[in-house]
């Protein structure tokens, strides 16, 4: 926790410093009473981390039914293949990214996306893949794979993307 705070504090200092050099004339007024003046908030973005190169193998995306996080037969078959591939690449870890279609509540969909990622993780664990190689993240309905508001588009957005990362 402390580590995070140090990082955040540093980022804030950096962000503020950067903001100041750019916008030295910005008055310190309460912006809420000055709706005409648009003061961008200091951005607490951490410095870009240098990621190790991702291994060059690809995994198929797993799809789900509306409001469901149950794996269908096709999904299970794809995960069986993925399990085999993982045995040949012991240095590869996976980030399982859960997504939903655009319908329904954003907050509920964030939880649903995570359930989908967890379902994939549990299936892979049952195949013998070590949990330490599997991380999950949910993007809910915030990052659709395809635009469009018809069943074909929605079906392609209800998914878990399996992203190989260096272990």
């Amino acid at each position: 926790m402390n580590k995070y705070f140090t990082v955040i504090a540093m980022c804030l200092v950096l962000a503020l410093g950067f903001g100041c050099t750019k916008k030295q004339t910005v008055k310190q007024e309460e912006p809420i009473k000055q709706p005409e003046v648009s003061i961008p908030a200091p951005v607490a973005t951490p410095p870009a981390e240098t990621q190790p190169a991702a291994p060059k193998i690809e995994f198929k995306t797993i799809f789900f039914a509306f409001d469901s996080y149950s794996l269908n037969e096709e999904g299970k078959a794809l995960l069986n293949q993925a399990g085999g591939l993982l045995r040949s690449y012991p240095e590869v870890a996976l980030r399982l990214e859960g997504h939903c279609d655009e319908r329904g509540t954003a907050e509920y969909n964030l939880a649903l996306g995570e359930k989908r990622a967890n379902a994939v993780r549990e299936y892979l664990e049952n195949l013998g893949v070590s949990r330490s190689r599997l991380s999950t993240v949910s993007f809910g309905k915030e990052k659709p794979a395809v635009a469009g508001n018809d069943e074909a588009s929605w079906a392609r957005n209800r998914r878990v993307e399996i992203v190989p990362v260096a272990k």
Partner: protein
Amino acid sequence: MKIKYVLLILLSTILCQNVFGRADVYLKLSTSERRQLELGIAPLQAQDAKDHPEAIVNAQKMLEIIGDDLAFSLYFKLVYPPSLLEGYGLKKGRLDIGAWQMLGARQVLIPELKQEKKKVILKLSVFDLGIQRQVFSKDFEPDGSRAAAHAASDLIIKNLSGEDGVSSTKIAFSLKSGKNKELMLADYDGGGLRALTNFNSINISPDWQPGGGALAFVSFYRNRTDIVSLNLASGQTAIISQTEGLNTSPAWSPDGKSLALTLSKDGNAEIYLLSPETKELRRLTNSWAIDCSPSWSPNGRELVFNSDRPGSPQLYIMDSEGANIRRLTYQGGYNTSPSWSPRGDKIAFVSRIDGRFQVCTIDITGDNFVQLTYEGDNEDPSWSPDGLHLCFSSSRTGSHQIWRMHWDGSAQQAITNNGGSYMPAWGPVQ
């Protein structure tokens, strides 16, 4: 003879009730449960300001905003004269009481531009036609600003109804820009729009800290969900929650001491109470299912939340200790996004009806399920602080805009015109 008479009266009463019963209900639904004051709006008197055309333009601009505010407040039924010519409703420079009574007004708002020393001021006064005297008078600077107009509206509302108006309140929301979503702030009528964040990431679920000084929200700035707080005066941000897994749906308690939120650090989405000051974290729900989207009762004793424990997402109520869980909704297979009315009696939420998402309300007893929207998808309802209005996002015009309406679904109106506007949160009276 007497008995016949009584019977006739009884019969006509019953008949009248049957005939007019519907009209009563309709009236109640289409306006509000509260009595509205018939308020005449006199044309601007500006003889004094002939040499200040900009003051006249500014005053007209402010009066337009004030008229919209007073009409939307639900406390008034505005009565405009048939002619907007200056001097209408006046007799020899004084209010023509008879003319305004004929129009059905009980009080009249009289706007005047007056030259005082070297300054021009906008004097707003209200004359009560019943007791025949002035009941409100206040001078304003005719600077044409939206903020000054909204402040004048709330002052009039407070003086004539005794209630706190919402004319000066703000609405925060999430605006799509490319692949990102940044938080925006607007007046409650969509005016004065400005950006709050410039994070270059997805930022959603804004929730106002009581008092209105800060917003908690969900940020993907690390490409995962964290709960961040933004101080509106200083623009400074701070991390509120960064646990493993989900950190979503922040909801400040009414006393501002704790934050209800959704975390999945213990395996799946559960609701927790976090005290940002002491860092104490208490788990409230315990279910294999998704539990998320908490919203506080106004007295801070209970929370309504979303859970798919019955196999589909439904609304539940629990106390703030996590005990006494009861199911609230049984209609349909998808009820989410609850928002507890500041008046305490109703919960607004989203229900999937015929494949589309609609804003509905239900009493906290589980009775009176009422559908408020019908076109497009309508999501993320948020109450005004007086509990008389709701804002929400709607796709009915083809793109997502922020809309507002009265508690009963009447007067639905878009307040944004950029597409990609989502998740509005109506701020407190400040």
